[in-house]
Every structure is written in C-alpha cells, then in structure tokens.
C-alpha cells in the first residue's frame, strides 16, 4: 500500500501536534494544580504569621516569605556586582588573551555545576567548619549561582553595542573606563537589568542548596548567621510531611513562589519588548 505524500504529511502533522501537546500540557497542569490547591489556603494570617506546630492547624508562612526575601537580597548583593564586573571583563578586556578565554570557560562551566553541588560547597566551607547551620552559607551558594547568569547577560548586551561608539569615544580622548561604564554599559543597561532580574527569579526557586545551609526555622529570622525559613524549603518539608494541613500550606506557598517567579519573567519580557518598540 503506497501512502500518498499528502497523507503522509497530514499524519506527520498530527503526530507533531500530539508531541507538542505532550510538551506543553504539564505547564497548564502544574499551574492549574497549584492554583486549585493553593488558593484555598490564602489568607492574611497565612501570609503574616509564624508556622503552627506540627499537628496543629492554623499559623502561616510569614517567616518563610521574609526569609526568602532576605536571603535573595544578600545573595544578590554578592552575585550581581561580581556578575556585572566579570561580564564587563569578558566583554571589554578579555579579547584574545589566555586569561580571557580561561575565565570564559570557567564561567560557563560554573553555570553547569548543579545547584546541589554549590550548596554542598557552601556546606563544607562554612557549616562544617563552624559546626553551625547559617544563612551566610546559603547566601554564598545562591550568590555564586547568580554570577554566571548575570555575567553572561552583561557580556552579551555589551557585545551588541556597536564598536563605532567605542571608537568614537576613543577618538574624543575619553578614557577606557569611562567608555566602558558611561557609554557601553549604559547602552547595555537593559540587558544587565533583565539578566539580574532573571537571576533573582532563578535563585528564588533553588531549594537544594538551602537544605543544609539555611536549613529551616519556625521563628522569625534573628540574623543572617542563623538558620532561616525560606519558601522553597518550606514547600519541600511540608509537601513530604504527610500531614494534611502542612501539605495544603505547601500548595499555598507554591502558589506564592510561582507567582513571584512568573511575575519577574513577565516583567522582563515586557521590558524587553518596550525597548524594541521604543527604539
């Protein structure tokens, strides 16, 4: 039986649509599940109070929300500056030099290191040495994770800036560091900000490194040197707790986390589009 090429084409389209459906269905399924299960838990008490003890209902995830924000802020304080500076180096100073290509290879390799391993590094460096679970180690791990993301975004947005501008600057006698920061960087600013925001969103979802650095806590954060609750670790602990009230709260926390991450991504997309429309 000879199948006509037309029919074959139609069958193939059907198969492709099916495969596409398989690829995208999880997104809707996940978001649907989260909204369905998480909405019912939402309340002001949920967002602002401390967790109730295991086995009792009530309470909330206030300390986890605060903890996530604090750790993210500190991690950004480490990761964004280092990332931007490294990105500047790669874009402007690293041409055709051995150090330059080494740095580039290493930054790329760093982005491939699993987050668990980076957390393990912070664990061995800080937690084991001081025999103390601490948010500082979490900050270190998450900060290191941000570096390749921010560096790559910075480098790419600076590379796009036309060399004409650099040459014009040099012709005018402007020193290199000024050219780099005031001209190139300010033109690349959109890409750098997007990259930083995306990196922030990325670490908001990272859980593995926190499991043995910041650990968890049932109290308000008392200092970055202490264990701290975070949304991500709360979701993990509560989801596997086998305790119905906690599992419900895990869905609520998941809803918050997904909202945070999606909002940042949508904002970055919107900023990007605005830039093109404006130009």
């Amino acid at each position: 039986m000879i199948v006509s090429r037309r029919t074959k084409e139609k069958l193939i389209i059907a198969a492709l649509v099916a495969l596409t459906g398989a690829a995208v269905a999880p997104l809707f399924w996940i978001i649907g599940s989260i909204v369905w299960n998480g909405i019912s838990v939402m309340s002001l008490e949920f967002l602002t109070s401390l967790p109730a003890p295991f086995g009792s209902s009530g309470g909330g995830i206030g300390n986890a929300i605060l903890g996530t924000l604090i750790i993210n802020l500190f991690a950004s304080g480490l990761g964004i500056p280092l990332g931007i500076l490294t990105g500047i180096y790669l874009a402007e100073y690293a041409h055709d030099s051995r150090m330059g290509s080494t740095v580039r290879t290493i930054v790329e390799s760093l982005s491939g290191v699993p987050s668990l391993v980076i957390g393990l590094f912070a664990f061995t460096l800080i937690v084991l040495s001081f025999r103390h679970y601490t948010g500082v180690a979490a900050t270190l791990a998450l900060g290191i994770m941000m570096i390749p993301l921010v560096a790559k975004a910075t480098e790419e947005s600076m590379r796009v800036v036309s060399d004409d501008l650099r040459e014009a600057g040099m012709a005018l006698g402007i020193p290199k560091y000024n050219i780099t920061t005031r001209i190139v960087l300010s033109m690349a600013k959109g890409g750098v900000i997007s990259g930083s925001l995306l990196a922030f969103a990325r670490i908001s979802g990272e859980t593995a490194p926190l499991l043995f650095t910041a650990l968890f806590s049932f109290y308000w954060p008392t200092g970055i040197d202490q264990p701290m609750a975070t949304l991500q670790v709360l979701i993990y602990n509560y989801a596997i707790s086998g305790f119905a009230d906690w599992v419900a709260k895990a869905w609520g926390a998941s809803l918050l986390l997904v909202l945070l991450v999606i909002t940042i991504n949508v904002a970055v997309r919107y900023l990007g589009r605005k830039k093109y429309e404006g130009a």
């Binding site: 109730a52 003890p53 295991f54 086995g55 009792s56 604090i70 802020l73 500190f74 304080g77 500056p81 025999r131 600057g169 005018l172 402007i174 000024n178 920061t181 005031r182 001209i183 300010s186 600013k189 806590s217 049932f218 109290y219 954060p221 008392t222 200092g223 970055i224 202490q226 264990p227 596997i240 707790s241 086998g242 305790f243 119905a244």
Partner: protein, 360 residues
C-alpha cells in the same frame, strides 16, 4: 546621542545609592538582632513518634518564655541518639531506650519518659475502611513477606465481614533508625511465634520500601494503593488513614484509641518504677491496645558543657513538659503520663547538675 557627563554621573549615583541602601539595610537588620536580648537557642532532635506533641510544647513554651527558642528536628530516634552523643543536640527524643552497650560508651545520660503513644498498623486498600482485624502472627507474616496479597486466607479468616481484594501487599517500613520500629518489632517478637527478624531500631527487612520518619510512612502510604505500614497513632488519625484492630493478650481485637492506649500505659506504669527502660509492649488487660509504648527524652546528667543560661532553660523546659505540658497531650491523641511515671521522670530530672549544683 549625547555624551554629556550628567547622564553618566546620575547613573553612577543611582547605582551607588542603591548599593548603600542595600548595605545599610543589611547592617541595620543585623545589628538590631544583635543588640536585642540574645535568645537562648536550644537545638534538639530525634524521634518522629512524639514530634506533634513536642512541636506543640516548643511553641507553647516559647509563648511563655519568648527568649527561649527551641528547635526540635524530627530525624528519627537513631539520629537523635547520635546527635546527643556528638553533643550537636542539647537533648534528644528517642522511643527506644539506650542499650546497655550504648550506655557504657556514653555514660551519664538520663532517660526522661515524657509521653507515650500507640503504634498502629495502617493500610491503603480501596473501599476498606478502618477496623480490619489483625493478630500478631498475621502482622508478622505480612511484614516478613510470607503473606503477599490482601485476600490471603489468613487475613480473610479473621475478617469474615470484609470482601478483601486481590491486591498485592506493599510493605512500607522505616528506612531510618527508628524508635517506632523498635517498639513495633519488640511487640512482634513478644507476641508472635513466627516473627524471625528480631527487634531493634533497624532490622533486616526482606521486603518493602523504606520511608523516612513517621510522616514519611504516612505520606508514602497515602500514595501507595495496597500499602501497609506501622506508624504512630496521631499520624494515621490526622491523615484519615485507615488502621487495624489488633488482638491483645486477652484475646480481644482492640481498636487503638486514646482510651485503649492510655489503658495500656497505665497498666505498664509500675514496670517503669523499677526500670525506666522496661519494655511495655503487649500488656495484659481488658481493652488494652497491645502496641503501646513510652517515649523518652535523653539528656546528659551534667550540663556543665553548655552555657549556664541554656542549661537552665533545658532543665526548666523538661520540668515543664512533664507537668503543665501534659495538658496538651490528649488533644493531640497522646495519653497523659500516669502519675507514677511522672514521679520517675521527676526523680531523673532532679539529677541534672551544673558545675556540681543541681539545676532543679
């Protein structure tokens, strides 16, 4: 496009201001927490068996004494014991009392019975609710892998009223070193003639999947149609997981309830007065639930190795839980300590010392 300096300057200023604000916020936040009264942070951990109750105690005690922040990690009795030996835990929870060999290697540890509870045999069988009848021998055979289907004749024989499905039994047991395992296997060793795996915080399970902690067993059981597992009463009840009636020493099929469990512990209390580590499973008595155990807080007698404020906090907290704390027990389905057991616990707590002086 202008190259005027003002744009560049304002951009640098902007970045600078943001950076300064971030750093300042961080510093303010940090120093504020340092300047405030330093909380006594106590780190403890161990058995998941009493975790709901200990969790409640920690929370209530913190309301009475805000400066005392206790974190109890539900990591299992074995990990709790190891944590205490390593002194990474200030006190530990363990359903299993220390063995003689452990007491020789780690002298000077007190056993404080702080509560007790029932270990239930729970299952996940479609259309079958709570109340299946089981005997020690049948339970032993299930967990040893001798009985592999729910409609096996041994199970059907003692459950004439139930239509059991042709479903594979999936055994769920503890993967971590567990006092609940210790209680469960001690019961089987005591009550069944066919149990060959012995007793202890871990045994060589021939079948089944391992779950971590009582909550892990609860969670896995809920995911696994055909599953059977042993876990503490509150975990099963709270998650509405059906559980079995177990035949006691008197030949009755007893449902685990607060009453039947309290009855067992009440009958067992005198045993503790002579030996705080006595095994109390399979007690004789009318309406007594046979798989009931006490659970202990383990703490070093001499607390001079920790700061004095912390040692005092530990001692006061432990005194509180065996007295005022008991009022929270029954709402979480843990029986109150019989008064003779409270006496035993008090006597042990009074041995706590700091630099030679008793703490209580």
């Amino acid at each position: 496009m202008s190259l005027s300096g003002s744009k560049g300057i304002s951009k640098i200023l902007g970045i600078g201001i943001v950076a300064v604000v971030l750093v300042a916020a961080g510093l303010i936040y940090y120093t504020q927490s340092m300047g405030a009264e330093q909380p006594a942070t106590i780190t403890a951990g161990g058995a998941s068996f009493p975790y709901p109750l200990i969790s409640k105690w920690v929370s209530e005690y913190n309301k009475l004494h805000p400066a005392v922040q206790i974190t109890y990690q539900s990591v299992g009795s074995g990990a709790g014991q190891n944590g205490l030996f390593a002194k990474t835990f200030d006190f530990a929870g363990s359903d299993a009392p220390l063995k003689d060999s452990q007491m020789e290697q780690n002298p000077g540890i007190l056993h404080i019975p702080e509560t007790g509870g029932g270990i239930v045999v729970a299952y996940n069988i479609p259309n079958i609710g709570s109340g299946m009848n089981l005997t020690a021998d049948v339970i032993a055979k299930i967990f040893q892998g001798n009985i592999t289907k729910w409609n096996a004749p041994e199970i059907a024989a003692i459950n004439p009223a139930l239509t059991l499905p042709d479903l594979n039994i999936v055994v769920i047991r503890r993967s971590d070193s567990s006092g609940t395992t210790n209680g469960f296997t001690s019961y089987l060793k005591n009550a069944s003639s066919v149990w060959i795996l012995g007793s202890g915080t871990t045994v060589n399970w021939p079948v089944g999947i391992g779950a971590s902690g009582n909550n892990g067993v609860a969670s896995t059981l809920q995911q696994t149609p055909g599953g059977v597992g042993y876990l503490e009463f509150f975990y099963a009840k709270n998650n509405s997981i059906p559980f079995a009636k177990v035949m006691n020493r008197n030949g009755q099929f007893v449902e685990p309830t607060l009453t039947s469990i309290s009855g067992a512990l009440g009958a067992a209390a005198p045993l503790l007065s002579s030996d705080v580590r006595a095994s109390v499973v399979n007690m004789p008595g009318d309406g007594v639930y046979p798989i009931s155990v006490f659970t202990y807080i383990l703490v070093y007698k001499d607390l001079s190795y920790m700061p004095e404020a912390k040692a005092k906090a530990v001692a006061n907290f432990l005194w509180w839980i065996i007295h005022d704390g008991q009022s929270y027990s029954e709402s979480l389905l843990y029986p109150r300590l019989p008064s003779s057991v409270v006496t035993v616990a008090e006597a042990n707590l009074k041995q706590l010392t700091y630099n030679g002086r008793p703490l209580l």
